[in-house]
Symmetry: C2
Amino acid sequence: MRIKILIRLKSQILEPQGKVIEQALNNLGFNEFNNIRQGKLIELDLPDNLSKEEKGQKIDSACKKLLVNDIIEEYEVLG
Amino acid sequence: MRIKILIRLKSQILEPQGKVIEQALNNLGFNEFNNIRQGKLIELDLPDNLSKEEKGQKIDSACKKLLVNDIIEEYEVLG
């Protein structure tokens, strides 16, 4: 099963890359796009024979141990 | 309305960063995680008064003109 992990900086942390994208989009005439923030997407396969709980535990553990810097980042799991 | 744009390299393109993550996770004992690929997440606000079609058009246009390199990347819009 394909899992998506979305990792973003916490909202109170400045994210300059998003500001640059926003400015570039504004310059191209896209004025409706606001509050743009860039983050990371990690996609991976997990075996189908794991239960939903096991999957959740493994993903949380991997995020805490390697993928996510808990001090400045937060994550969301999809799929 | 908050929109998520997931941008990933096309599957036939090598994505070394994902391989590094996979190796690091394996070294930590996470052997169930396979075929890891890292991509980009762009989140933005669009005005609620736009119709679903208008939103789709604007996002597609912004992706084609700035956000996505169509030659090597593909994108998916959520929310």
